[in-house]
Amino acid sequence: MIKGYAGRILEVDLADRSFAFKPLDEDIARLYLGGKGYGTRLLYDMTEPGIDPLGPENPLIFATGPLNGSLAPQSNRFAVVCKSPLTGGIGSAACGGSFAYGLKKAGIDILVLRHQSATPLRLEINGDRDIVDFLDASELWGKGTNATQVALGKGRNHAVIGPAGENLVLYAGIVSDERIAGRTGVGAVMGSKRLKAISVTGTRKLDMEDENKFKDYTKWLRQLFRDHPVLGEKLRRYGTMGIVNTTNARNIIPTHNFKYGHHDDAMNVSGEYLEDHGLVGVKSSCIHCPVACGRDVTLEGVGRVKGPEYETAALLGPNLDIPDLRWVNEWNYLADDLGMDSISLGATLSFAMELQERGLLQSGLAFGDPTGIGEMIQDIAHRRGLGSDLADGVKRVSEKYGGKAFAMHVKGLELSAYDPRGSFAQGVEYATTNRGGCHVQGASMYFESTGPLTINPQNLKLKAEIPVVQQNLACAINSMVLCIFTTYGLIPKAVHQMNPNGFLHRTIALLFENSGPFYRLVSGLKLMPLLWYEKWLTYITGEKFTSGRLQEIGERIFNLERMYNLREGLTGKDDTLPDRILHESTFPHLRSGHPLDQLLPRYYKIRGWDEHGVPLPRTLARLQVRL
């Protein structure tokens, strides 16, 4: 077996309560690494087209990769893959916490859950004894994710769902510690299996090719991360909410259901504001992470809890016209405890508010008014009254009540908190990403709007190239499985010290902006490792990795996801953006929104797809994507 892998897949049948350990396929591991890549390969091969995402045929796949279980910083993440009940296409989400570490210590690379239990169930997996216990979870059913994990106790690593997952909220997530695999409704799939929790334990050691080199390199990188302006300073101090004032200044923070990109009081939900008003401590929610981007806040009647992330702060704050940290903290806690994606939740609430504003729905929710929101979040999680409609997400609510022009989703997945009208490459990424409108499948906006060195975000230069390279890289990172924040460390400290208006910044940005094919060429070089990921992988697995090989692996995964979506009925027509984004301008110097129609053909061409967004046979052959 290749080093770095446990070499085992644990397959559990929840209907007949049986399990089996199966060998990991080395060829698949070489082609797809692990995590999201391996999981997608399994999903494609295990399922027939057209299955019901909430039916017994939809497997729920928890997948680690070769870097999990090591001491590499930000490496304790797992991927979850299934057919998404929210989009009908590929469902995938990643999560920090400690569950990935637990799985790997138990000697399990991938956990596949098949079929459905008739009654509430929880699993206890002991990787040292190779046993799986199927235990009644009736007493846990209905409990929040916090209470559930407390009841399960310490000493093992857990992945659990809350009431949202139990009640099949289409954007329910799976929680490990204080982190959530939030997107695409993976928690609803776990709920459909009546599986409340998985607990795992084990003491197996990860076998590495060259442990000493790995440790030395990791030690050096940990120090680099600690000294880095973003990873070691800004993220540690302000968390992800430290970006609020940037997106607000750049006019891309969602406001009033994406009607605007700026809110006069967005500063009230910024990381800086949190530090001055209510931050009670800084802690890392994921083990072995030197960044510690998690914030703690105090909630009245609850105590110390994990604070919100940027996405949550933006979508439950300015997006609802309620930039008030007290409310955001409370609703964030509710979403986490009930076990649902706060991005989709925030976008669904703002959509319901706009429907109310336009007289299309008596939702009882109004922009700028916190009245009834906490109750509605509970109603959504328990599918009570109108909450049951809102539990289906923006796309389905728009199909029932109207308002498709301002339904802020792509492929059914609600947009995250970067308005692409001020970040054109991010718009292409939203439109084309296989799981839908998400920012962490590439994070193109970092090169345009939020990073220290940004190109002009509102012309056509490099706006099709950046998403391709970034999506490929993100696919590879999500298959190792690492935190995408590790990419921040790729930008040298010196760049962060440049004046954004200075000559040097402007010159480098212009050069980058005009680099075109050269940028893709360099990213795809198979000569040497350009990033640290390759060295880590080589020291662990013994396989030779280059940046080009990582790009190729990522591209392969992205194309397989694409083929899965096409198989399930999605088409190139789904590679679009909401009408509001395409046609309404939020910038005084622009008459319309995002120029997707001018960028999409180039994106398809770079990808090696036809004009309908279908991968060409030669592209699939080059990437060895077997169908």
Binding site: Y238, T247, N251, D264, T450, P452, N499, F587
Partner: protein, 87 residues
């Protein structure tokens, strides 16, 4: 009508205001001068708080346009911008 100037969090905290308005037309040099004036001679504090700080006009970083020569007109919004954290 006037131009709105949004301050960074640190500038706002120090000055006790989040934004102020100036008469149009104006230049970015005017924005700098008028912001500095609010520090009432505490130039060192102003310099410290505006180090590695850029300007955004109506959501666009000025280095993507005409730089410090960017003209400001009525209803424009100017923001001081600090290097970002990760999100």
């Amino acid at each position: 009508m006037s131009i709105t100037v949004d301050l960074t969090y640190d500038l706002a905290k120090t000055l006790g205001i989040r934004r102020f308005e100036i008469e149009a037309p104006a230049t970015l040099q005017d924005v700098l001068r008028l912001t500095r004036a609010r520090f009432e001679g505490e130039d060192a504090a102003f310099e410290k708080l505006t180090r590695v700080t850029g300007f955004v006009v109506n959501g666009v970083l000025i280095s993507h346009g005409r730089g410090m020569e960017t003209p400001l007109k009525e209803k424009d919004r100017v923001s001081f911008l600090k290097a970002a954290a990760g999100g």
